[in-house]
């Protein structure tokens, strides 16, 4: 098995380097891949990141521990696809018509806020360093186990990081996306092949015959209630499992976090025009992603020692299982590390730290930044896995808090700068103090809090978003017609003139939102509790139906299919999934928070640099 694992990972690394070398020979810019990443690559990469971005190893571990209730949050793929459609097309348009070429620049210029630029940069760093390190750190034990300890955890992390760094530094953003697209296809194919092989060939009980084995006291194929009055993880144990319906819907928000992460927004902004956003959202994110995480994961989680069982029958099948986890980790880590670094370089280094760099100097700056980022990822993943998990765990819930700001940019012109910033402050604080970092810091420095992680079985992302949205709505009431409204209107007037969404008015809009809310209530919200017995003990029938599979699984599949149809509606009927380069008309939208004229470094940065480079007189 050791030779197989090393050979397979070596071949994938060689392929990545080969594509990177071809990209470099074509002379494509490192930082944005030319701004016209092919649609097919963007949609496969986006779908792969949606599946792998929440941490596939963590997801598999949770399903093995909690059963079908932990599968249910994967319904969030539909939410993530919807969120992506709502904001990504308009971001693409803003990049083309107003030159807002990266997510921080788009929010910063639209709202006229330096604060939002800093928030976006902080998020990019959170994703690029601790979250990427946490994901790589989760894949390393799989390699160690598969090689029988020949490759230790730390060397595995360093090896993975090094072979992710090489293609990024040689080929930049475009090469990275092309390689990630292949990794996404590979994950999808291996998911299907390994699941089918395991269920069809392996002896013993699988998911269909025996369900997912869980510890006593855990409901393996039922949701443990709508909500539980639990103080939270670390303080009190929830009865039957932590994934109540509110736990499910709040955890599902993490997929929205992936869709709104700086890297995904940057990918959307640098993709070529076409229908790829819609196709990717419907068929790959909601469709293929749902098949993988809702239909196939239970088959993989049902056998506690699946790798060894597969290795005894067919070593290549066992290798396939290892590759699913490792390639998914590589994909997510490379995506977040590369995109985060490029965003930081583009938004901070080029305009403010080293303005006026020659193209050659810019390439060197990108390469140095990538080297530093991947060294940081490897160091954190190898030597500080707990710190990576604690800090990285904030990345997705924090990204969810961008929702009001991005919806404001894309759709709702009355959401003001002060509303967004006030909402973000509340949202980020609530996330911090309902997740590990805030609790550890506060309880270590001051006193014990009465709640733990996920109080009332509600994930930190939802606590933050609820307060965030409430504050945004409240503040917007008073500031919607503020002095900066005219600045925001310029972008929205252009959207309305040439990029109108056909169903944002009248009955179509009402039907779309009503159906989406009803779907969310039944698919993931409190209504999902009906799925526990809806198909095994049908109401009014007074009898038990023998399905052969858990009722909850049927409920999940049914509402996943309905959700995918809703995504199709948004993508194609509402045309949020297609972009047209021919309709682009450039407008002038200066940043009110930055002085006009050529970019120059702030004095304190310039002075600091001068000391280092000995240019001070």
């Amino acid at each position: 098995m050791t030779v197989l694992v090393i050979a397979a990972l070596g071949l994938l690394a060689a392929y990545a380097l080969y594509i990177a070398a071809l990209t470099a020979r074509a002379g494509v810019p490192l930082v944005d891949g030319g701004g016209d990443i092919p649609g097919w690559a963007a949609m496969f990469t986006g779908a792969g990141v949606m599946v792998a971005g929440v941490g596939l190893a963590d997801h598999l571990a949770l399903v093995s521990r909690f059963g079908l209730q932990a599968v249910h949050p994967a319904m969030g793929l539909v939410l993530g696809a919807m969120a992506g459609l709502l904001v990504q097309k308009r971001l693409w348009v803003a990049a083309r018509i107003a030159g807002m070429a990266s997510p921080g620049e788009a929010l910063g210029r639209y709202y006229g806020s330096i604060t939002l630029r800093i928030v976006m940069l902080t998020l990019a760093v959170l994703f690029a360093l601790p979250w990427a390190a946490h994901i790589l750190s989760g894949a390393a034990p799989v390699i160690t186990a598969a090689t029988g300890g020949v490759i230790g955890r730390a060397p595995a992390v360093w090896g993975l990081a090094f072979f992710l760094f090489l293609p990024a530094v040689v080929g930049g953003w475009r090469a990275g996306v092309l390689v990630m697209a292949l990794q996404s296809v590979m994950i999808a194919v291996l998911f299907a092949a390994v699941s089918a092989f395991a269920e069809g060939v392996l002896p013993g009980q699988g998911f269909l015959s025996g369900g997912i084995p869980v510890a006593e006291g855990i409901l393996r194929d039922m949701i443990p209630g709508v909500i539980q009055p639990s103080a939270g993880i670390g303080k009190e144990v929830a009865q039957g499992g932590i994934f109540t319906t509110v736990g499910i819907v709040s955890t599902a928000l993490l997929f929205v976090g992936v869709a709104l992460s700086p890297g995904m927004l940057y990918l959307a902004q640098t993709t070529a025009a076409g229908r790829s956003k819609g196709f990717g959202a419907v068929w790959l994110v909601a469709g293929m992603g749902g098949i993988a995480l809702l239909l196939l994961v239970p088959f993989l989680a049902a056998r506690p020692d699946l790798r060894a069982d597969l290795a005894a029958v067919e070593p290549l099948a066992a290798l396939g299982l290892v590759l699913i986890v490792v390639v998914a980790a590589q994909l997510a880590a490379a995506f977040f590390a590369t995109s985060g670094t490029l965003i930081v370089v583009r938004e901070l280094v080029f305009p403010f730290v080293l303005p006026g760099l020659t193209p050659r100097g810019q390439r060197l700056a990108v390469r140095i930044a990538l080297a530093l980022a991947y060294a940081g990822v490897a160091t954190l993943g190898a030597f500080a896995p707990v710190a990576s998990a604690v800090f990285g765990g904030l990345a997705l819930p924090f990204a969810v808090q961008l929702l009001p700001a991005l919806v404001g940019l894309a759709m709702v012109r009355w959401i003001s700068r002060s509303a967004v910033i006030a909402g973000l402050v509340f949202g980020l604080l609530l996330v911090t103090f309902t997740d590990t970092l805030g609790l550890v810091l506060f309880e270590g420095l001051f006193l014990d809090l009465p709640w733990g992680r996920w109080p009332l079985t509600i994930h930190a992302a939802a606590w933050g978003l609820a307060f965030n949205v409430a504050v945004v709505l409240l503040v917007s009431i008073f500031t919607a017609r503020g002095v900066e409204r005219g600045h925001r209107d310029r972008l929205h007037d252009e959207f309305a003139a040439r990029w109108q969404v056909p169903q944002t008015r009248g009955n179509g809009r009402t039907a779309l939102w009503s159906l989406t809310l009803i779907w969310a209530f039944l698919a993931m919200g409190p209504g999902a509790i009906l799925g526990n017995s809806f198909f095994s003990r049908p109401i009014f029938a007074g009898t038990e139906a023998s399905l052969g599979v858990p009722s909850l699984w049927v409920w999940q599949i049914l509402f996943w299919l309905i959700g995918t149809a809703l995504v199709w509606w948004l993508a194609h009927r509402a045309r949020l999934g297609q972009t047209d380069a021919g309709a682009v008309r450039v407008i002038d939208l200066p940043d009110p928070a930055v002085a006009p004229g050529p970019a120059r470094a702030p004095d304190w940065i310039a002075a600091g640099l001068a000391r280092v480079t000995r240019e001070a007189r």
């Binding site: 392929y15 594509i19 092949a193």
Partner: protein
């Protein structure tokens, strides 16, 4: 993008897409083939050939969507791999005890199916005459002006 060869970039994008089709399929086909050889199951071998056929179909779809054709390198690699596989089957028949009885027919039928799929593709893509002319190198040895007439093939 100044200094960027758009033609080269387009070829790179297509090449990456083709690789994204073939690499995962090749892995699955190899696993199925290996399991078929080890377990003696004919259906596993058939599954591996079906995977290769599916990848070939996906490659054809890529060509259709992008408006391209198989590159000379792809054709050469395909022919080389096919010849290698055929040679491996022949050597296995001669050198591996029991192969002829258990797996020969599936392997041979699989190779024939691959060849048939390629021929079918060429006939559909180019028509019977043009498909045949792709192999008709004898006719190129002594070209006459009449052979360029449209009703006699019209080759350039």
């Amino acid at each position: 993008m100044t200094g960027v060869s758009q033609d080269r970039v387009q070829r790179l994008d297509r090449h990456a897409l083709v690789m994204a089709v073939w690499l995962p399929a090749a892995f699955v086909a190899a696993a199925l083939f290996h399991h078929g050889l080890e377990s003696g199951g004919a259906w596993w071998l058939a599954g591996s050939f079906a995977t290769v056929l599916a990848a070939f179909g996906a490659h054809v779809i890529v060509n259709a969507v992008l408006g391209t054709d198989f590159t000379p390198r792809e054709v050469a690699l395909g022919l080389f791999a096919f010849a290698l596989a055929a040679l491996a089957v022949v050597l296995s028949v001669l050198l591996t005890p029991g192969f002829a009885g258990r797996q020969f027919w599936v392997a041979a039928l699989g190779l024939v199916a691959l060849a048939a799929a390629v021929i079918l593709y060429m006939v559909i893509r180019y028509g019977p005459r043009a498909a045949f002319e792709r192999f008709d190198i004898i006719r190129d040895n002594n070209p006459r002006r009449a052979s360029r007439l449209p009703h006699r093939g019209g080759r350039a």
